[in-house]
Symmetry: D2
């Protein structure tokens, strides 16, 4: 007994010394996540934001302007959820494999990593504003993609403004992915969440093309019992969904738990549909087997276009798809109540 | 612009003053949730534990021994998820409505509240160890159920040891619900998570009866890439599922996001099945409409057996059911790897 | 050994549960004191500020607008330091005992408590702006003074604006004590820290009368190597001293450690002096015995003017006096460099 | 107005982003100091302890086993207070300048830096247990002393056990300085705080030689109203003073505020005295001018024995001396009540 007590005791003492250095992040004006900080690997200021790479219990973590962007332990959840459902939709929509993909943002290179897994992809154009983020991720976060992704011949990597790029773009795409910062006041990305932008983007999609964007926190409670648009309403999930619904025949919201964010995270996929039935559908129902078969057939299981095999997806498959697209009733009720549309003149900001 | 800056500024200042008092809870040895504390309503020590009721951004919150038990903003998520799927299973299993229900624990009275919504329920036996918790919840948390529930003639409320009660019980039940503390070292509930206990409980279920238990954190990342049973493995979700699978034909894990816990939470439902096909099923697939129809028909929409109407369920319905029972791939992989069984002689503890 | 480990271990566990509720106060924009919060006794909003009385490791604690005002464990240090040196000065200045005293602020009633200890005091006028603070202190902090002080016939207690009162005052005093909030932006007390106010107050002092004010943080390091008046200079100790030096022949700064504030705290005593030698003195040197003899002879050792004996002073005596008035070199150097004067048109704010 | 609000607002926002990374240190089981952490420069584990060098608002800071050892902003306060009063005592005791000095611990090299300022010093022997601490301080904390000190020909630097060294030492010294860790359970330095050790050290002092040791927290409130030796008594200041009083004719406690420690810090100086009057003295009274003259004459104002001039002392001088040795009444009362003596068989531990 004495020895087990000793062990327990020293375990507790270890906790104490481990907790000397901390990272504390506000996920809400009155709720914080606090975690041990075992290292500050990089700390710099880019032209646009403060950029840090640190080590926490979630492994290496990219933090910009005080907000966790992605963590080693669960970045794959976010990036698989952002990328693959759109590919499933395109492939099952017209039985034509997605070939040309645009990524707005995506500086960690992990979104491109997931896109490049698909054998059918011939060209990826990725436009990220912040070259500093790109460089530090490439150097310090090779697990996210790094050089393997950055040097992939199918990838065209552009440091620039995704909004400007798309407004002047003459190419079209099968999938357009927005992996950008949340719409916060004075944030550079606010134009990328407007009806006007979505209307233009729609013109850049091929037939059966799909647009998908991250959509901020999907905490079903924060969204509950709060008057939409009131100062306590700190989510943009519903406004983004609503705005996309105004522009596209179909806009499907979905969400996944990101443990390092401490909450569910929202995404919205949007597309045109000639099928009036489908356009009424609120959720993306699809047989598990169809998802799994598509993933098996189209993933080349290697980032580098060589024979090096990599693991199959760790988060997304046919069953997980069901979870993601079956939103809890709390969220669905909120979506019915919230009528806000995001426009150039009336943007909506989140916390 | 100046006025909006003023407003924003004073909003930030309000945050600062609001954050003077805090509640900080470890959800992992190196991860904390910290939130504003606007009031300490009750603080006492029962025979078994420290008991506090406080006010946080999640509303009134019951905290025992430093762990949040349930919060006003989202207690309904936990309690609906714990209770109703088992009722759906019983009702769809043999087309006989559940009549007799046992609740182990449940001191907040909210589990009984959800059970009593079902018109078919004739008798509920609830056995909770801690009379102090029962009393403070009844007095200070009327929104959870309070007197309306405690005085319901269909409810038999017993302050005592659920383990002892069930070991000596000669009655049988359609649904047995364990709403008890996590299996922590030296916790009083450790026996309620053992194979031996489950074997006995099985004998107390009527035909088509269902057993359901809360099963601790279901954080899919904490469960990932950790050797089962290693000191870093702080979850009991898989061991509880495994142990129930040893005893019952079918044990189905499911999970929901509880925002005030900062993570997904696990439950396991278990039952005997004459159907060998069903016993192979890993998940509880059921048409949305069947769930929704059952809820519509069996919920009396009133706690007090009188004409007072209450809202329909806020979290659970047919679509939410799909989300709950479609576990993410990360969790399913973990369940395949973790072989631990919880017995009297080899209990498994969680953080 | 095993038992001592057990004890130590359980001690550490107790710490963890004790630390669930916390008070966190910024003492600097980047430095916080955080302590266990065992109770929130009162929480209200007065006409002027948020007012809380809580329990921390320092005992009962008054907090207004997020700043600790005084704590049970060490309020006597602050209040003895504020009151008694001025009385020593008056008594040793002209061998006439101080009879008439004015207190600006002092809502906790502890400053009045210390003043009333002096047998020679015939009348105390106390003017505090915030009747709510007065009431909650009187009710919940009887250890500070409470009814015994509030009902003392020698005390005239006025709820009102000390600035207005003194500007219209026709009485004169032997000691004028300012026990008011720090000069923060938009704070009500800003006028009470200006050269104009001090010039007027000087006219209300009897011959050999003494003015004394609290003067904010006296942290010798925060004051060091910072350009006076720069945005990093968050102390008002030197400007208050400088401003009083402009008005009075002699202004003597002194400081004491207030553990619940986490730092040394500053005071300035000011008086006119016919003796040109004394007016050059930077510090208040006095034989220990003279201080101790005065305290012995003039303290009636009872708050209530009855025979009830109370303890002698706990913090202040002849030796402590030396410590208080012998400022460390770091502070003295800062005082030489900082030339700021506080006027109506050019106030100085502290953090 | 709008612009000043903007500025204030952005200042507050800066605070928030600055506070993302934090260091939190327990100064008491229920009181923490928390500060911004702008960098983790070094993090390593020596044979004896965890060693970190970080950047906080107090500048570069050495932290071992979770406890701040010294910080750039105020290390000079601690090191000047530890070293110079003993030199003043030796020099004024027999009018012979101190020539030979022993330092136990002192790995930051700052104690040696202060010793080497004295022109009269011919030889310094410094014995520190932890070569890792020495190396990282020398490399990363040059402001503390660094190579200039480490390579000074008057310094003999030994990595080893100061206790062993002194027990086997045949040399004698004018000043022996213990700059070692607090006496915590299982700490390596516990023997260096015992009566037996002090008895031996006394034999190694030259005539009029002085022994001085750091003595832990001198928080006058933590020491107050607590039964000496009770579990709430977490200070060793009084026991160290008492133990030295048993061995030496005279043991003089003194204290200084160390802002980065958040409290006053204690030291005890001890010496033999043929003068029975002096041995009764409780405090070290000395004319300011004598201190200042000695410092002016004996400090060579240069670390490197070359012509490079450095600043005079920043904290210690004749007036500061008075503050340090005039302990507040609260502490003096505690010293009278606490009778504990530290021996090999009955050590006393602090928090």
């Amino acid at each position: 007994m004495s020895s087990s007590n000793d062990e327990k005791c020293s375990a507790i003492e270890n906790e104490r010394s481990k907790s000397l250095f901390l990272m504390r992040e506000a996920v809400h004006p009155e709720v914080y996540i606090e975690m041990s900080l075992s290292n500050i690997i990089v700390q710099t200021e880019s032209e646009f934001q403060q950029v840090s790479i640190v080590e926490t219990p979630f492994g290496k973590t990219l933090v910009t302007d005080g907000k966790t962007q992605s963590a080693q332990a669960d970045e794959f959840v976010y990036h698989e959820a952002l990328v693959h459902p759109a590919f499933v939709k395109v492939a099952t929509g017209n039985n034509a494999m997605p070939k040309r993909v645009f990524i707005g943002g995506g500086g960690e290179l992990a979104t491109a990593r997931e896109v490049l897994r698909h054998q059918s992809v011939e060209k990826v154009v990725m436009v990220d504003l912040d070259g500093t983020v790109l460089n530090v991720c490439r150097k310090y976060l090779p697990e996210w993609g790094g050089d393997d992704v950055a040097t992939n011949p199918r990838l065209e990597l552009i440091v620039g403004d995704a909004y400007e790029y798309l407004m002047n773009c003459t190419e079209t795409f099968d999938v357009i992915i927005m992996d950008i910062s949340d719409p916060i006041e004075a944030g550079p990305g606010i134009m990328l969440y407007t009806k006007e932008f979505y209307q233009h983007v729609k013109t850049l999609l091929n037939q059966n093309g799909v647009f998908v964007t991250q959509a901020g926190s999907a905490d079903p409670i924060c969204l509950l019992d709060i008057e939409p648009g009131s100062e306590d309403d700190m989510s943009c999930f519903a406004p983004i969904k609503n705005t996309l619904s105004e522009v596209f025949d179909c806009a499907l919201p979905y969400s996944v738990l990101i443990p390092s964010f401490g909450t569910d995270w929202g995404f919205v996929m949007a597309f045109s549909s000639p099928n009036p039935e489908e356009s009424k559908c609120e959720f993306f129902n699809i047989d598990e087997e169809i998802v799994d078969d598509f993933l098996t057939s189209n993933l080349n299981h290697g980032v580098k276009d060589d024979n090096k095999k990599i693991d199959v997806l760790r988060y997304y498959d046919g069953i997980t798809h069901k979870r993601m697209f079956s939103l809890p009733k709390t969220l669905r009720v909120k979506f019915l109540k919230d009528k806000r549309i995001m426009t150039k003149d009336n943007p909506v900001f989140m916390y």
